[in-house]
Every structure is written in C-alpha cells, then in structure tokens.
C-alpha cells in the first residue's frame, strides 16, 4: 500500500482531525458570510434606494480603487466557493470514515446527548446545498424568475416580487430553518474542533453562542421576506 511510505507527520497531516479542522475553518467563514448577508438584507427596511445602492456597492465599488471596479465580488465569490468545495470534500471523506467506523447498526439505540441538528448534520448540509442552488438561480443568476423579471441592478424589486408570494416565503423559511439548524451544531462543533472547548464552562458558552447565532440568523433572515408578504415594506 502506498500509505506505508508516509511518515508519521504526513499521516497526521492527512488525519480526520485535520479534515475536521478544515471543515471548522471553512464553516466559520461561511457563518461569517451569512451574518454579513443577513445584515445587508435588513436594508430592505430603509427603502429601495438604500438597498440597491448597497447591492451596487457590493457588486462594483467595494475595495475600488484598490482593486479594479467589479473585481472584489468575483474574488469574494471564488473565495466562498473554495471554502464550500473544501467543506463538502472533507464532509464526504469523513462520512466515508464514519460509515466504516460505525460498522453494523444496533437493533436499538438510546442516545443521551445527540441533538436533532447534530444527528441530521449531513442531511441538513445536503438539503442546504440544494436550496442554495435554488436561491442562487433566483437572485444571482436569474434562471428561475417568479414574481419578478431578473434585473441585477434592481434587487429591491426582485426581492419585493419574489416574497409577495406566500409559497416563496414558505420555501425561504424552510431554507433558513435548515441553515440555522446546520449552523447551531456547526458553530459549536467548529470551535470545539479547533480546541476552544477547554471545560464545562466553555462548553456552555460555546453552546449558548451557537444557539444565539442560529437564532439571530433565523430572525434576521426571515424578517424581510415576512415583512414583504405582510405588506409592511
């Protein structure tokens, strides 16, 4: 086997713990992105001009003139995509290791600690990827247009059109629920993997923060579409 030629250092570098650390770092980057995205969405409450100006700034003016106009958004997208691909790649490898490690199934299991989100983590991730594709094809690419005509210079109108439809808000609520469940376990797990769980106190703090961030994301993401549906914007 080829692995016999690897040094102990090389084996440790290829270990599951290192793959978990990659998942942790990329996951935290993506959570950071979600928090920023959520904050930006709230500008819908200020009005069309504020929302569209912000979107325009993201697409062309951010970091200009340090970078040529419109470069930042693509560098940022590539960075997020690399994070996402690494996250998914490590997840697939670790899932394989888990299937082997777990071995035959028990006739009966009674788990004491496992939460719903930690149990469903991988399935939440897969649903998340599918819903993300749907989300991007609506608002970023324009493959799916429902309730609006795609126009990347006027995301405010797209937002209003899309979420004036109750079923779109419902799909979005499902999306955000999946995101927040994934983030709830992911936030705690990422910091724990990176070694931040130094004792029972730290465990409570990390878990509390995980619930807080997940709840914050849920409220922050669901408020704008809900307000549009209820005619409050």
């Amino acid at each position: 086997m080829a692995s016999t030629t690897l040094s102990v250092h090389q084996k440790a570098l290829r270990s599951n713990v290192v793959k978990k650390a990659i998942m942790a770092v990329t996951g935290l980057v993506l959570i950071g992105f979600l928090l920023m995205h959520m904050f930006g969405n709230l500008k819908i409450f200020i009005g069309q001009h504020a929302y569209n100006t912000y979107a325009g700034w993201l697409q062309s003016d951010l970091l200009y003139p340090l970078l040529p106009e419109g470069w930042f958004i693509w560098l940022f997208r590539i960075f997020l995509l690399v994070c996402l691909v690494l996250h998914i790649y490590c997840m697939i490898v670790l899932w394989g290791a888990s299937l082997h490690g777990r071995g035959p199934r028990y006739v009966r299991t009674n788990r004491k600690e496992q939460t719903l989100s930690s149990k469903l983590m991988r399935w939440l991730g897969i649903s998340l990827a599918a819903l993300l594709l749907f989300h991007l094809s609506m608002f970023t690419i324009g493959w799916i247009q429902t309730g609006y005509v795609y126009d990347h210079s006027d995301p405010y109108t797209m937002f209003m059109g899309a979420f004036s439809q109750w079923w779109m808000v419902l799909i979005y609520a499902l999306f955000v629920t999946v995101v927040c469940m994934h983030v709830r376990h992911g936030f705690w797990s990422a910091f724990t993997t990176l070694g931040a769980n130094v004792g029972p106190g730290a465990r409570n703090v990390l878990n509390g923060l995980a619930y807080f961030v997940a709840a914050l994301l849920f409220v922050g993401f669901i408020l704008p579409p809900l307000a549009v549906l209820l005619g409050m914007v």
Binding site: N16, S98, H100, T193
Partner: protein, 258 residues
C-alpha cells in the same frame, strides 16, 4: 423479578447474528447485571443450550473487560442513574416484567468474536503507537526530582482513569475512538514525563486511530455521557490543540509509519 431478555447471539466473527428472546423468572434486584447473565447461562447449560458468551474479569468496574449495550446504551446508561460499567450495574435499575435488550459493542473497529464478546485490540494498537513514555527501567528515580504542578497532575490523573472499555466508541454515531485516544494524550501531556515525546505521540496516535478504522469526531458528546470513568469531552479539545501545534513542528517527519 421476572425479566424478558433479548440477546444478540452470533456464533463467530463471520456468522450472521440476531436477537434471541429468553425468559428469566428468578432474578433478584440485588444481583449485578453479570450475575443475572450467569443465572441465565446456568439455565441454558441445564437445558443443553449454548451459554451466552460475554466478557468480564474483575467485576468491580476497574478492568474494562465487560461492556455491552443495554437497551440501546453502553453499560446500561439508559437505565442506570449513575455512570457505571456493566458489572457494576445492578438489577434494581430495572423493574419486574421489563424487557431488556442486550447487544455487543457494534463498531467497525471492534469485530464481534462471539455473542456479546468483541475484539478491542484496535485500542491496543493506538496505545502501541504512542501511549507511553520512554524511560530506562531500573531503580525508580527520586519522585521529588521532577516537580509536577498540582493542577496538571490532577487533570492527568482524572483522565488516566480510562479503563479502555470501548463504551465511547460503542456510543459514537461515527464509531470514533477520539475520547479514548484523547484521554491518553491528555494524561501524558499534563505530566513532565510526557513532554519529550508529546508532539510525536499525538501525531502517531492520531494516525493509528484513523488507520484502525475509527470514524471522525462530530462533537456530539455521546462518548462522554456513557463513560464509566467520566473522561470529559474537553479531552478531545486537548488532543486537537496538541495535534495542530505539533503539525508546525518536524517531529515524526523522519519516521516512517507502520
């Protein structure tokens, strides 16, 4: 007490196992769980049936040999109000008329030998990879010549109580041996005697952990919740921190893995 037992029977490593039901009418609540199985086996022997194979040695919760999944939780942690090994679980944790399901540890790294007996030598191979310190044998050195800070010594002692029973792996949805491995890492990382090989140890033990087919940790926490010796979940944090720090150093670069 009258008890209905559903027990995993498997003739050998390669045989297909399955649950088999037995009735026991003469169980005392003062019996330990293993004594109850002894009574069952006496009945089976008298009836000319194959007794249920299960592992045990000390029967006082310190050797780590016994250990079965009872009603879906290792060491009967679903029924027992306190952390315990299977041998220290008593029938008073159950009620008259209860149905008790007993299965062996089922993980990819611990093959079933027979019935409830599993082969845990994968743990030995992890220890062999680095769970030791290298000192010359001979006359013991003066104990006070190497000061060990009290706080670290206490931490080391707490995790050194791991008996290697394998309940952590049995409880883990991923079949990960991280709690076991991290107990040894934390033990030796907190003592002055463990420092010279600290970086090489963590690399070698993590490599051996993966090579022996254990899964990755998902920070679910099942392992620590069933541990009879209360090895805390944060031990895994110590292992991770030690591994990340050691990866920046050259230890183990010149050493070919087995």
């Amino acid at each position: 007490m009258k008890i209905t037992l559903k027990i995993w029977r498997q003739a050998n490593k390669d045989a297909v196992g399955g649950m088999k039901t037995y009735q026991l009418d003469d169980v005392s609540e003062d019996m330990s769980f293993l004594e109850m199985l002894d009574v069952l086996n006496e009945h089976l022997t008298l009836a000319n049936e194959e007794p249920v194979a299960f592992d045990y040695d000390c029967r006082e919760g310190i050797c780590g040999m016994c250990g079965v999944v009872i009603n879906g939780a290792p060491h009967g942690r679903y029924n027992s109000p306190i952390p315990t090994t299977t041998c220290q679980l008593h029938m008073r944790c159950f009620k008259d008329g209860d149905v008790i399901e007993i299965e062996p540890w089922k993980t990819g790294s611990f093959p079933v030998v027979k019935d409830l007996v599993v082969d845990r030598s994968a743990f030995d191979r992890i220890i062999q990879a680095g769970g030791f310190i290298s000192v010359n044998t001979g006359s013991a050195p003066e104990a006070h010549s190497v000061p060990a800070p009290k706080r670290q010594a206490d931490r080391a002692f707490d995790v050194a109580t791991c008996i290697g029973c394998g309940a952590c792996v049995a409880a883990c949805p991923n079949g990960s041996g991280m709690l076991f491995t991290s107990a040894k890492i934390t033990h030796l990382a907190n003592l002055p005697q463990g420092q010279p090989e600290r970086r090489l140890r963590v690399k070698a033990m993590v490599a051996a952990h993966d090579e022996n087919g254990f899964g990755g940790c998902q920070n679910v926490g099942e392992c620590a919740s069933v541990c009879p010796k209360l090895i805390p979940l944060e031990s895994i944090g110590q292992l991770n921190r030690d591994l990340f720090a050691s990866l920046l150093r050259g230890d183990g670069k010149a050493i070919a893995g087995s």
